[in-house]
Symmetry: C2
Subunit: 254 residues, 2 copies
Amino acid sequence: MALYIIGIGLSDANDITLKGLETVKKCSRIFLESYTSVMQCPVAELEKVYGKNITLANRTLVESKAEEIIIPAKDSDVAFLVMGDPLVATTHIDLFLRAKKEGVEIKIIHNASIVSAIGATGLQVYKFGKTASIPFSQGNYMPETPYNILQENQKNSAHTLLLLDLKPEENKFMTIADAISYLLKIEERSKKSVFTESTLCIGCARIGSSSQKISVGTAKELLKVDFGAPVHALIVPGKLHFLEEEALKEMAKK
Amino acid sequence: MALYIIGIGLSDANDITLKGLETVKKCSRIFLESYTSVMQCPVAELEKVYGKNITLANRTLVESKAEEIIIPAKDSDVAFLVMGDPLVATTHIDLFLRAKKEGVEIKIIHNASIVSAIGATGLQVYKFGKTASIPFSQGNYMPETPYNILQENQKNSAHTLLLLDLKPEENKFMTIADAISYLLKIEERSKKSVFTESTLCIGCARIGSSSQKISVGTAKELLKVDFGAPVHALIVPGKLHFLEEEALKEMAKK
């Protein structure tokens, strides 16, 4: 009897690990966290490959009614599926802590995450600084946190991964162009030359899937690129090693 | 016909993804990169689960005789297995570039990496700065790079993951105590108060495996902890959020 928090990877139903699949198969209830990310395949495809019915777990369920996930794990095996690697988002750490308080045993099954899969750009993963998130702006309210994190990383010549907001239930996904516009607006206000139209950017869409797209260019250039379906992410590289430059060129060609 | 660079995860034979396994099964040659990391299970166990013979690829083969891996991929499917996520280490980016130059098609299959699996400590993955590596010291030669990266991260209140050197072929694996001693020696020289006996540290061993061990304490305290078998990693946390403190306490209890 345990709550299994299982990463299912980045793209489709075949990205689960053997350990993950074996565990899902023995669980009596399967939840899929459905508000912090989205797979490149329909849930029905996951159900087919996993051989199990899946209950979608939205933010309300996970954050306000977590007992519906946790209590059943006291006397049966319950799976909580998370896209990517399971303990990267704070919301899942919170679920972990609540389950602990209820005396539920918890097991983690890891999987690929965007924070390592960005190696697919040719940039060195070890040279990334803090990861930033760009939220949907609400009217004039645009938090400057991502801009400030970018500035901090630049001081250390570190690369910056910017994750873009998404609301899968409303079918709302921030695009790379949205993210660039967001940062340019903050630049207009702050005038610290952290992110301008000539800043070198790497746009990444659907990393880890067969339709993955990586493009390199200035912010101004990437504003015009159509990256297609979600999920998008933006990278602002720090100082590039020549090997990174060479790899980046190759990766962006594909 | 392609060269498949496949992540096989962090711990044992069941950490491969369905996509990874399906790919391995159709390949005519299977190499396992054997010098940047080590699994928690014997290679025979991988061979059994994958249903294939595996050739160990040491540093000489990958860095000096890469054509032995690349050329066969021109007219058959070849798998190059890497522990963790495949494009995190520079050496694999280099293999990628050489294969590209030979006109070989390359496909990447992602998997869990230590850089996201450290979420298992309860620390927020997004708040990690650059990753540092501690090399075995050669006599008096001790590069200060890891110490300097730690200092840079501290300025941004970022957490620091320090990866510890290993030479699996010589059965040499740096321990957390070795890593702490290394940093303390540089502190003695540099006197910048970046890493002292009272610095809070998190020691992690065998992350992602069933025998995973996480301990929290000052550098001086962790020097005395036996973390058991490799692979070890050291984390020096930056500023902790109260949720991280709470989660860290729980994770270290397990």
